[in-house]
């Protein structure tokens, strides 16, 4: 190609691009100002279904706004997608992501739009607002329902083993597990191939920790507490160790997966499965009447209560401005409204209470575990530690698998985790580390 021709072609191209631009700007106002915004959500079936339901209902109510939904991977890979998009300023207008400890790593006061003064924030419950507050900015609305961390139990298996009621103390739980084992079922389901599932006995024990030590979260964040030396916090680690030592896990616990765990608690192949209640919708409908849910009991029956998890939140990226910002705020207001929770529950099934003041009511027939959760939420509850402290070490799942597979003791594991959180605290630049 000779250079002269290249220059001509380039000139022509530039001219036509400029002309197109002119056309675009002159046409835009004539189109009744339809604003298109983008929304990035994770690709788990429940999040995708719920987001699609909300988008459909929102567009019906706001014909001038079009929402384009895209998905990203879940888990650690998804964390990196979100961080990279925010850092390179290529994030969608609206995106959904965890609330609590993981939010701090997004540098929210700089990368997200502060919603503190928006009218719709008054309908978001204060307990959720504190999970999306960072350096004085309140940056998200709840996308999903409150969850509990506790133990699913198979009701027919409990009956067959002659267990009456549900355990209200840890010792009652152990004796129930022994009865289950004597009756020939796997007492407690371990699914450590998905190592995150090993965390429940420790994370869901936090209600019991805070009952003993109300200032725990603040002291832990300030590096004044080491888990290995704190008897209350160490208990969760010791519970894991005890269950392993008594042989109450299934023999293939190290290679079983989360999906195996769901199938086994549904069929009664195992009697108890420590898990978060988001799993209820994964239990086959035919088995939902057989699976109940209880909080993780502590040492005393009088303080029996539930450790709760906050749902993910919808955020607006700081790169969003002008008409798109107005439209994005409208979408968030919709998500936090009764109509938004109706759309969520319709698309995904009712999973539990939402975290907004005016919300969808529970339908007449819900799974047994969802009913149990609702009853527990109205009793004593404590948010999980990750919603009270930004300090969460990344190796907790693997360390707990080490304990649950008998490679290290509870105290050694807690010591390892104490070391593990140091890197996290330093990365966040927290004081006192």
């Amino acid at each position: 190609m000779n250079f002269g021709k290249f220059k001509r072609t380039l000139g022509l191209t530039l001219a036509s691009v400029a002309a197109l631009g002119l056309v675009a700007t002159s046409v835009a106002p004539a189109q009744a100002a339809t604003t298109t915004i983008t929304w990035l959500t994770d690709n788990t079936p429940s999040a995708t279904k719920a987001a699609q339901g909300i988008v459909a209902a929102f567009q019906k109510a706001n014909p001038n706004i079009k929402v384009t939904l895209t998905t990203r991977p879940d888990g650690a890979e998804g964390d990196n997608v979100v961080k990279t998009k925010l850092a390179t300023k290529t994030m969608e207008n609206v995106f959904t992501y965890n609330s609590g400890a993981l939010l701090a790593a997004l540098n929210p006061s700089r990368t997200l739009v502060d919603l503190k003064n928006e009218a719709f924030m008054s309908s978001v419950l204060p307990s959720f607002q504190s999970a999306v507050t960072s350096k004085g900015s309140v940056v998200g609305v709840p996308f999903g329902t409150a969850m509990g961390g506790g133990i699913y139990y198979n009701i027919p298996a409990f009956k067959a083993a002659g267990i009456k009621g549900t355990p209200k103390t840890w010792n009652q739980l152990i004796s129930a597990a022994r009865k289950l084992k004597a009756n020939g079922v796997d007492a407690i389901c371990g699914t450590f191939a998905d190592s995150w599932t090993a965390q429940l006995f420790v994370l869901a024990d936090y209600h019991n920790v805070q009952t003993v030590n109300p200032r725990f979260a603040a002291d832990f964040t300030a590096n004044k507490i080491k888990l290995a030396k704190n008897p209350a916090a160490l208990k969760g680690f010791q519970r894991l160790e005890q269950v392993k030592r008594l042989g109450l896990y299934n023999s293939d616990a190290n290679t079983a997966t989360y999906n195996d765990g769901i199938a086994r608690i549904a069929s009664g192949k195992c009697g108890m499965y420590p898990m978060l209640t988001f799993a209820t919708s994964a239990i086959p409908v035919a088995n939902q009447k057989d699976v109940g849910f209880m909080a993780q009991p502590g040492d005393s029956a009088t303080s029996y209560g539930l450790t709760t998890w906050m749902p993910a939140a919808a955020y607006i990226s700081a790169t969003t401005t002008g008409a798109k910002l107005t439209a994005s705020k409208k979408l968030l207001a919709f998500i936090a409204s009764k109509a938004g929770t109706d759309a969520y529950a319709k698309a995904n099934g009712y999973e539990g209470p939402f975290l907004v003041t005016n919300q969808s009511k529970a339908p007449a027939s819900v799974p047994r575990a969802t009913k149990d959760l609702a009853a527990l939420v109205s009793g004593k509850t404590t948010p999980a530690l990750e919603f009270l402290s930004a300090v969460k070490g990344p190796n907790l799942p693997s360390i707990l698998v080490q304990i649950a597979s008998g490679q290290v003791s509870a105290v050694e594991g807690a010591k390892l985790y104490d070391k593990d959180v140091v890197a996290q605290a330093r990365q966040l630049g927290l004081r006192g580390w």
């Binding site: 790593a105 700089r110 616990a253 290679t255 140091v422 890197a423 330093r426 990365q427």
Partner: protein
């Protein structure tokens, strides 16, 4: 003057051929490698960086799981490398001899090299699963652990090593076959006249003249083993606990936890470690090569 120009031309002319690959190498390998030295001294959150000196390296070396990971890395690298040499050479000898279905067998041995590592990992994970896995059921005749090969902290790493060798030995075999094909027939004929046995033949002709091929296999599989990650990640995720974690998987976990500076420092450490190990080894091995 003209002569001088021609000389410059002669000197720069070959460079033009190197330029395209040079640009690709520079942008995709050299630039990231050099910048990684910079980022290893930063606390990097993707949003901003802050100079922290050698703190990342200090944190990296204080990692309580590093020592176990390093030991596993060496076990993994030396075992896979050694097994690939031994098994690959035996297969090479067998596949050079005039046996039936030689072409078919050569293809079968090489086939696993072409399959996706992640695919192989997931397949063997299922095969080794207790209660449902075919391989587990077959091996349970010999009384292997109820936890499954991948579920038992004592066997998980070795189960992955076995699969790595199965998958990679085809390449070693091909290198050995190529090496044996370059040995001139005269040596064998001369040996035949002297009446040597098959074992002496192998010991005194094949083995020494195969040294360049052996060295290639050792170096390639050792480097591959030292930085191996994908198969381990697909089969065990480093577990149970940290039982099959190697340096690369530890670094990957730091990266996914958002410790970008720290994981970059880890990569720099691994880079230097592989250099320190492989460069002298390579020099030592090349010295012992003999000319055909």
């Amino acid at each position: 003057m003209k002569n001088k120009l021609a000389k410059t031309h002669l000197r720069t002319y070959p460079l033009l051929f190197v330029l395209p690959i040079g640009v690709i190498f520079g942008t995709l390998y050299l630039f990231p490698t050099v910048t990684s030295f910079y980022y290893s001294t930063q606390r990097w959150s993707l949003f901003d960086t802050q100079f922290v000196g050698l703190e990342n390296f200090a944190t990296f070396f204080q990692d309580p799981f590093l020592l176990g990971g390093m030991i596993n890395t060496f076990i993994y690298a030396f075992l896979t490398s050694g097994l690939k040499v031994v098994v690959g050479m035996l297969l090479g000898v067998v596949l050079m001899s005039s046996i039936r279905f030689r072409a078919l067998l050569r293809n079968l041995v090489f086939f696993p090299v072409l399959v996706s590592t992640i695919g192989v990992g997931i397949t063997f994970q299922e095969l080794m699963k207790p209660q449902t896995g075919l391989l587990h059921e077959a091996l349970s005749v010999f009384g292997i652990t109820e936890m499954g090969l991948l579920g038992d902290p004592a066997t998980a790493l070795y189960a992955v090593i076995a699969v790595d060798v199965w998958k990679g030995v085809g390449l070693a075999t091909v290198i050995f076959i190529a090496g044996m094909a370059t040995i001139p027939a005269e040596y064998y004929e001369a040996a035949k006249l002297d009446g040597v046995s098959a074992i002496q033949n192998f010991r005194h002709i094949v083995l020494p003249l195969l040294r360049p091929a052996t060295n290639t296999v050792i170096i390639l599989s050792l480097i591959g083993g030292l930085k191996s990650f994908d198969l381990i990640w697909a089969m065990t995720g480093g577990g149970p606990g940290f039982a099959s974690d190697v340096m690369a998987s530890l670094i990957y976990k730091q990266y996914t936890s958002g410790f970008y500076g720290l994981s970059t420092a880890g990569n720099v450490v691994m880079f230097v470690m592989i250099l320190i190990l492989v460069l002298p080894l390579n020099r030592y091995l090349s010295k012992r090569e003999v000319e055909v």
